[in-house]
């Protein structure tokens, strides 16, 4: 198995979670912090195997929760469910279509916070919820939709730069070789 795509996804998830904690510009401008993990999950589940999905859900979820007041592990299950649902039906999806990527990113961006909130409320935690949460949810969904095609482009470029390129067959064909000799 080629582990490079999985390692790249995990490295981007690590940086993404760090940036979400460190950079407050979007939160200041929009009133909500955009989450990159659902967009990454859409990419992983459309282009990679089950191991990538599971590792991204587990590591990404734990990293996210470790910087947050969330109970540790609460983001893992919603990410995993999102990834598995897309993985299950990926043969039916036009994964190279930007429109499909945007729609899937929006759906994942909207489903992830809902799943996490569902778990939080069931665990007896009382997160900060109100009318403003609706705006934050819209921002998260729109952010997921906008970031997913960017994820595809980023990983395509990384893949081109780092992975072995497939060997293209040479133009030479033995049956079309012009044999020169004495007439």
């Amino acid at each position: 198995m080629n582990w490079l795509p999985t390692l790249l996804i995990l490295a981007v998830a690590y940086l993404a979670v760090f940036l979400e904690g460190w950079c407050g510009l979007l939160r200041y401008c929009l009133g909500a912090q955009i989450d990159l993990l659902p967009a990454l999950m859409v990419y992983a589940s459309l282009t990679n195997g089950l191991a990538s999905i599971v590792l991204l859900a587990f590591c990404g979820g734990l990293w996210f929760d470790s910087l947050s007041l969330n109970p540790l592990g609460v983001s893992v299950l919603p990410l995993l469910v999102t990834g598995l649902l897309i993985y299950h039906s990926r043969e039916l999806l036009l994964r190279r279509s930007v429109f499909a990527q945007v729609v899937l990113g929006m759906m994942a961006g909207a489903a992830q916070p809902l799943g996490t909130l569902f778990l939080l409320l069931n665990l007896g935690r009382l997160p900060l919820l109100g009318w403003f949460s609706l705006w934050q949810w819209i921002v998260l969904a729109a952010g997921g939709g906008a970031l997913t095609p960017l994820c595809f482009q980023l990983f395509d470029r990384l893949h081109d730069a780092l992975a072995y390129q497939p060997v293209t067959p040479p133009a030479f064909r033995a049956d079309r070789e012009i044999k020169r000799g004495r007439l």
Binding site: W63, L69, P127
Partner: protein
């Protein structure tokens, strides 16, 4: 369909995630700090970059401007020195009078400066991480403030970092007093507004209290976590609740929680 081995793998992961969720609070806190320790190299890198930028900016400031700032700071330091000596006399008098009446002696606040290294990436909590930990004498529930007023309290303590829960988070309720008339209430999160607007609700005020916009609010000292007298903010508006039995006020925080770079932690 998934293979049997894949299904087992997934089941193990789900059980592991559920087991993590069921960890007791203290263990989970330690585990969290251990996991977030993976980000230490990046936090260190950003800290160094911040310092380098600061040095570069200082290098660009003209000498005349620096001299002007030094003169201004020296003047301020002299004024502060004078105030401090007056303050020391008042403290001594206060301690003597308290001893005469038999009241417990007041202690000075011991403060340590900390840098904010990250904020909560989730939208439904208000917390941040600072670069001080148990090594620096921090403990759970230490109050966190700035020169402008209260920020929150320490929620979890690691060796070198701590998690601070801020005003406006549902996990933090603070007993507060209106300075002008001594009315006591409890500060709650105001979820209908974004955090950057800096509004918070002061609830459980008595129905006949004379609370009005513009009055300042500070910690009451009840509850044992926050000492009395830390400024919190000013009242913006007041409304009656429960058919006039109680009142609720909106308080504009004196600290801009969205733009914190350094905070001070009150060490016991």
């Amino acid at each position: 369909m998934l293979k049997k081995s894949h299904l087992i793998f997934l089941l193990v992961l789900v059980v592991l995630a559920l087991a993590l969720l069921k960890l007791p609070g203290e263990t989970m806190g330690k585990f969290k700090l251990a996991v977030s320790g993976l980000f230490l190299p990046l936090f260190g890198l950003t800290g160094s970059a911040h310092e380098l930028l600061g040095e570069a900016r200082e290098g660009l400031t003209p000498k005349r401007e620096l001299q002007r700032q030094i003169d201004q700071l020296q003047r301020q330091a002299q004024e502060q020195q004078l105030l401090l000596s007056q303050d020391a006399a008042v403290w001594a008098e206060n301690a003597r009078l308290r001893a005469l009446v038999g009241w417990p002696r007041q202690t000075r606040w011991k403060l340590k400066l900390a840098r904010v290294i990250s904020r909560d990436p989730a939208n439904w909590w208000r917390s941040l991480e600072i670069d001080l930990g148990a090594r620096d004498g921090l403990r759970t529930n230490c109050p966190v403030l700035t020169a402008a007023g209260l920020v929150g309290r320490v929620q979890g303590v690691g060796q070198t970092r701590s998690q601070v829960v801020m005003l406006g988070d549902p996990n933090l309720r603070v007993s507060a007093v209106v300075t002008n008339n001594g009315e006591v209430g409890v500060l709650f999160a105001n979820s209908s507004m974004p955090q950057e607007d800096g509004m918070i609700d002061l609830d459980y005020l008595s129905g006949n209290s004379l609370v009005a916009p513009g009055q300042s609010v500070e910690t009451s000292g009840d509850g044992g976590v926050f000492p009395r007298g830390i400024p919190i903010g000013r009242i913006v508006d007041v409304r009656s609740k429960d058919y006039g039995l109680s009142k609720e006020a909106r308080v504009k925080l004196s600290v801009n929680l969205g733009a914190l770079e350094e905070v001070m932690v009150m060490i016991p």
